[in-house]
Point group: C2
Chain length 407, copies 2
């Protein structure tokens, strides 16, 4: 597997574009399109929020019916959530107009929206945007970047990742884009992500792999514990690499899964690092847990604690808050066995040994926590299971961004 510079149109046969439709923002791209002429099999995972946005309901239906998919049309600015029957009609028209512009079926177009909840979209703006998008489709690097930047809301950086690998003598590419910086939490968030691949793979296996990959990537990040109405992760495979079909249980399947995991984890980490107001990527690794499930719960409990997150912001080795967050996670363990170590580019330091303060230098600890990417390792000494979760620090800017997001 090789990491390459690329985005959502890196795989053979995929094109992308971004456009300024004026849905909510001025002078800013707010619509994106991903297109493949060859029909793609499509897998997806979606928000578990009871309140689901219109595009989420639309895509769930497409994925469930295993429709061949040719395109994904996305917009930022307005989430098309809590918009009732009118919102669902607008969403369907967005798919329909896109399908018409591309000469494909309406049910072959997935939709995704992100932005403010409760507002209706202006259909004239959307339709004009779709015309621009269809004209702008390209397999260029710039077109991928334009699509990725068009789905940003409070994101400060554009999120893309791509890799290539060889399967049965053919070059296979996996590339994708994502957005999301607030309302990010396990069980998906106000995140949108589209990953494309030219691999030949059946719809059933792609679904299985996608579910497993999401569990290790997007469902292990959290910015603020708020799960949104719009979270969508779509994987499209158009088969243009012409490899022998990937079959379950083979080395090829493992390789493909590794590639998809790399792209998803990279996008997920970029999301966590770009959490609203964040100054640091904050990783928690739990080792020595009794079960995988316990390891996941413990790691998530640490990265979601507001008190731990503010301590990380302040580069304060306040390990009591970490132990406390492990303690209220609901997992049983012996507090007097736990070891806690911090690590970053500046070094590694053990803070806690058997539940009590280790003999460490506060100065050294502050130095390690002052880096832009810091990891906390919690060894529970109960078993062999591990999990990694990613979050970010909680800062003044998170409050600023969310105290007046709409104004």
């Amino acid at each position: 597997m090789q990491v390459i510079d690329g985005g959502v149109n890196a795989a053979k046969g995929f094109m992308a574009s971004g456009a300024e439709a004026g849905i909510k923002y001025k002078n800013r791209k707010d619509m994106a399109l991903v297109y493949t002429k060859s029909p793609a099999v499509c897998a997806g995972t979606f928000t578990k929020n009871v309140v689901k946005a219109a595009p989420v309901l639309w895509d769930i239906d497409i994925v469930r019916q295993e429709e061949a998919v040719h395109a994904v049309v996305l917009n930022s600015g307005i989430a098309n959530a809590c918009t009732g029957g009118e919102g669902r009609k607008i969403n369907e028209r967005m798919a329909e107009k896109t399908a018409k512009a591309l000469g494909v079926g309406t049910k072959q177009v997935c939709t995704a929206s992100t932005g403010v909840i409760g507002m209706q979209m202006n259909m004239d703006a959307v339709e004009a945007g779709i015309q621009q998008l269809a004209k702008g489709l390209s397999d260029s690097r710039e077109a991928a970047a334009a699509a990725a930047s068009a789905i940003m809301t409070t994101d400060t950086v554009c999120k893309e990742a791509a890799v290539t690998l060889e399967i049965s003598g053919k070059k296979v590419t996996v590339g994708g884009m994502a957005k999301g910086s607030g309302m990010i939490h396990p069980d998906m968030a106000t995140m949108l992500s589209v990953v494309t691949t030219d691999a030949v793979i059946g719809a059933g296996l792609l679904k299985k792999i996608t579910t497993a990959v999401v569990a290790e990537s997007f469902n292990m990040i959290s910015v603020d514990r708020d799960t949104s109405t719009n979270d969508t992760f779509l994987v499209l495979a158009n088969g243009e690499a012409e490899n022998d079909e990937i079959m379950e249980g083979t080395k090829e399947c493992e390789d493909f899964m590794e590639a998809l995991t790399y792209v998803a984890v990279t996008l997920a980490k970029k999301m966590a690092a770009d959490g609203e107001g964040a100054t640091k990527l904050f990783e928690t690794k739990v080792t020595g847990a009794g079960t995988k499930e316990d390891a996941v719960i413990l790691a998530k409990s640490v990265i979601t604690s507001n008190l731990v997150k503010t301590a990380v912001y302040g580069s304060d080795a306040n390990w009591g808050r970490i132990l406390c967050a492990l303690g209220y996670s609901g997992v049983e363990f012996d507090p007097e066995k736990v070891d806690i170590t911090i690590t970053s580019a500046a070094g590694t330091l053990q803070l806690v040994e058997n539940g009590k303060a280790a003999d460490y230098s506060e100065e050294l600890a502050t130095g390690i926590l002052s880096e832009s990417s810091v990891t906390v390792v919690c060894d529970m000494k109960l078993g062999e299971c591990e999990a990694v979760a990613w979050g970010c620090d909680l800062t003044y800017d998170y409050v600023k961004i969310n105290g007046d997001y709409r104004s």
Copy 2:
């Protein structure tokens, strides 16, 4: 029932004091004592965190064994949590020295600590503090306030409440104090609260009533979802009112429970309003839920959402975030039935009707949300059950306080 000006020594036979022991803070009270010459029956509820501080383990044992209690000794500055066997020894000595100064048994003294996790207390300072406390004991209003202020950490105001009522022709008083502003969350928090009463009541019934009261008060507040290692709520009843013993299922029992609930809810709301960095008390009432349990989960989900809390801070009627927080609570409901109304001293306004924006004035909404106490009412239209939860807004100052709490 009559609300009176009073605190933890308002009930007959109780005395209190506060002292500067120099445990961590300089020139600031950091130890408190509550004492009753007549032995008291004692009920308590404690943190559910797996990591329990030494004083929590001590008190759990006393309450379980139904020891007659004469005193509670408390300190702020250091939490005596994650301090291992040495911390447990220090805690026991704190009880022992207090018992000696008061001429009671060691196991008749409850302990409570709050502050930084992981540091050991200086026993010399604690012992000197205990001598001061024993000398300073008084039934004066000032002594109660001194005790209440001595347990403050990042609290900005002292929290006390008291009421009187008549039971079988005798005047009964219930009074208490509390502290807590960060790490406040359902299942208790880094909160300490001691309530005293002169009522005659059996230990078993007092326990039952205390559990029910906590469910409606301290377990319905949240500042930051972090449940601490030290949360302690103790109720002492010394029987000096000489009323006929309160029996289960009687009008007298109901009256007493109402009084205890009033004191506990008042203290809990003061805690929420004084949440770290908070500018507003934020109440959420859920009506029309299918079950009481659902109502509790929904109300808590709204008050704990960082995105709702920052919107409340910004006086922004961003109801999509409220609906979203209801949606990810785990409770099933029909989003297209929900009504949301906001209310404060400035008026009442419906924001959402049947899951969609009602026709309301943003200006009026901002006016209502600008008050120092705001309520959101969510009507699920599924049944008859209700719950109320209290929290606060999330502000720059929360980040400031917790970004460098230890420095």
